[in-house]
């Protein structure tokens, strides 16, 4: 929605067993980025973005912690 370079597919693993097997899905939710990086489970958005940046070979973004941004805002 924010960036048109990004496409997302949700795949129901039980119906598409062949895909689930191809990507060795052992647990859900499992996320695969550009067919190369993968992780299982839910992660915070900040972490997710950094995994994408890593996959693209870009430097990670340092997000301010909630506490820091509160301080900055005050």
């Amino acid at each position: 929605m924010i960036n048109s370079n990004i496409t997302a597919d949700v795949v129901e693993a039980e119906e598409f067993m062949d895909m689930a097997q191809h990507y060795k899905v052992m647990g859900v939710p499992k996320t695969v980025i550009n067919d190369s990086t993968e992780f299982v489970g839910g992660v915070p958005d900040e972490y997710f973005v950094n995994i994408i940046l890593q996959t693209l070979g870009k430097p990670e973004h340092e997000f301010a912690t909630a506490q820091q941004s509160e301080l900055a805002g005050s």
């Binding site: 929605m1 997302a8 949700v10 795949v11 039980e14 598409f16 899905v25 980025i33 958005d45 940046l53």
Partner: protein, 159 residues
Amino acid sequence: MPLISDADREVLVQRFNDRLTGTVTIKLFIESAARSLLTIPGQPSGQASGQYGKLTKELMEEVTDLSPLLHLEVADIRGDGAEDAARLGVQRVPAMVLDSESGGRVKYYGIPAGLEFSTILEAIEALSRKEPSLSEAVAKVVEEAIQEPVHLQVFVTPT
């Protein structure tokens, strides 16, 4: 018998009334029953995928009936929808393309049943409001730092 109970229907109508602001067109690709008797090795049996397609169609018809802002277009991947499916990169059915206007960047393969029903509702609502659920800081990085194609595949189960 409808898949969504009367009580749930009432809740959903209210929820859509409160949360939807723009129209959302959902393009659903299925395989027509006659053809789906074919079984392709390594693929779910044609009959099974036809059955899932039928159920997904029923479910999404019921959902899109609950708000005038929601539209459902159903097409046969081997028939009237073949060209569209190729353009949007859909190779498997049932498949739903949620933002077909902007090139189909969000796709859902399979039936959005069980827990995944809320996933599809949230996706519909986010698209309708054009509001991502990300924080400002994260949205900014996503917007600015990514210039190359990123393809995300998320595997889920209905339970």
